[in-house]
Amino acid sequence: MLLYDRRYRSMTIQVVVFILVMAAGWWLVDNTIRNLQALGKDFNFGFLFQRSGYDIGSPPIPYNSDDTHLRAAVVGLLNTVIISILGCIAATFLGTAVGIARLSNNWLFARLMTIYVEMFRNIPLLLWILIVYALLTEILPAPAAYRGEDPEWSKILFGNVALTNRYTAIPSIGLTNDPGMLDLGFRIMINWATIAFAVVLIGGWLVRRVVLNRAQAAQDRTGERPTTWWINLAIMTVPSLLLIWYFGLHLIQPELTGFNFSGGLNLQNGFVALWLALTLYTGAFIAEIVRAGILSVSKGQTEAAFALGLQPNRTMNLVILPQALRVIIPPLTSQYLNLTKNSSLAIAVAYMDLRGTLGGTTLNQTGRELEAILLMMLIYLALSLLISAGMNAFNARVKLKER
């Protein structure tokens, strides 16, 4: 019988599974079609090209209520991406620092870091988002507090940053010698100066790599490593300074005009709160990962390195970290994924991410929940897969060294 021979058994089971899955899928699709019919709705994505009609605070690309829902969704997606990237970066730094601090032999500091980690790991993220947001709105003053001859609050950092309960006003960058904009289409413009800086920085970075390679070569040749930090510093800064001088770059300090600060950039509190909360929350998890990673490298490795005469910091860089990294990266990847997905809690703090636009206002104004939610899930899925793919590639590079 088909079930009793190993070769056919697995085929049989698979065929059955396949039929069952197809049947279930067909059942769902059929139900959906019939339900949609009953409701007199159809399944189409035309709504994406209709006028959206709502505004979004501080969109990363030009956007207003006359644009389409599609553009609103793109704005949301960009916001999601921005918060995710910034969150991942900040959380990585924080988590690494705390993870190492927990291993420090400073009793007090290690304890404090433990408390931090346990607090954040055991209390829902939503609460932290709300608390940070509330802290920002309740403790910081309204912009009006900066008004007048003798204001209650004054700007910090040489008058460059104003903390308010709506946003953090930071300076923006002005150009006296504005080279104009590059139009990328879709009303997305980039200042030529930005491009110039990008080119210079990337170029500088490439040159720096050449310098480093040559230093490495010199070390390989002579054993002594030439000091390169000042060359690097110069390469990274001088061209930029020249550009700054050429374009007449200057900071435009935020000034209180009318209700709000203008001139600078206003980082909305929703954004700041979400960023902080995601960073603190994910940072606590990353701290544990980093700590476990470092502890996973056996003591013998440190001893062997010491016995060879390597100094502790060299031991860390050359022996411990490369090995710890292999243990750290896979769980770190899932923390990045979590952070990206958790950014959808932006809904709680009025930050218009993908969930807020496509899955929120658009869905609500158009009533296309099936389409909007499916599309939104697909986009999140794509983001997740992208992050996984990137991290796996990185992991493969780190891992390659092992075997």
Binding site: Y54, D55, F259, N260, A350, G356, T361, Q365, G367
Partner: protein, 319 residues
Amino acid sequence: AEGDTLKAVQDRGELICGVNTGLVGFAAPDASGNWTGFDIAICKAVAAAVLGDPNKVKYVPTTGQTRFTALSSGEVDVLARNSTWTFSRDTDLALDFIGVNYYDGQGFMVSKDLGVTSAKELDGATICIQTGTTTELNLADYFKANNMAYQPVNIDSNAEGEQQYMAGACDAYTTDASGLAATRAAFADPENHVILPEIVSKEPLGPAVRHGDNNWGDIVRWTLNALIAAEEYGVTSTNIEELASNSENPEVQRLLGSSDDLGAMIGLDKDWAKRAIMASGNYGEIFAKTIGEETPIGLARGLNAQWTQGGLLYAPPFR
């Protein structure tokens, strides 16, 4: 789901009513979990008419975002959640608004210190709005029409929005004027906040049902009309028994089922309207009890007075 909502409700023995998650005066649970408010009264009236018991309602709290889906997916039988009747909602969203229970308009509330007296002076202001509402759209239109800039803060729930406004995180809070009044009434210092004179939109708020089930729509529509008509004819929860037996007014007799059997035409019994009115009183009584001037919310009747009093309430004849 066509044409059988009434039967479904009667079989279930319970009306499922989609309401706000918490809006003072309109729908909010109290400390012991009883829902009260202006919208709640509609639910109770419908339940009384259909099931004979105003308490056989299950309230499903919906957010601005989940409300229409909850209705169209059949999760609730009727949506009584201060929702604005608009063209696209009525058509594209496949809903049926069955009337207006509150004529509202979108306004702005600002702090007195701001020194603003007109919405036209709000150029550049930060404004808190609730996401997923028509206010979001009206706001965009209004500022665009007046060529002003603003910074929207899209808040998820009313409580959150008020919090932001009170902390000064927005210069102005915009929502329906009724909501503004309710919000302001609850402040520790109501006198320090002003509601600006501009009403920037028409916001006819009304209960909605699903497209397609016309009979059910009729029931809800005429239940609402019964409440309005009752006020017009002076039928109150206190005198209703008396009027039912000895009213001279033929319209009242038809309404209360003492002469014609209008109920049968919508699949109900004779006393349906009587029960609906008895549930929480006529329109005026409900208004006074939940959001009227005697309550902390202190709304004036304004547009929501009977047509006979110069308002817009005008129930079609029961005939």
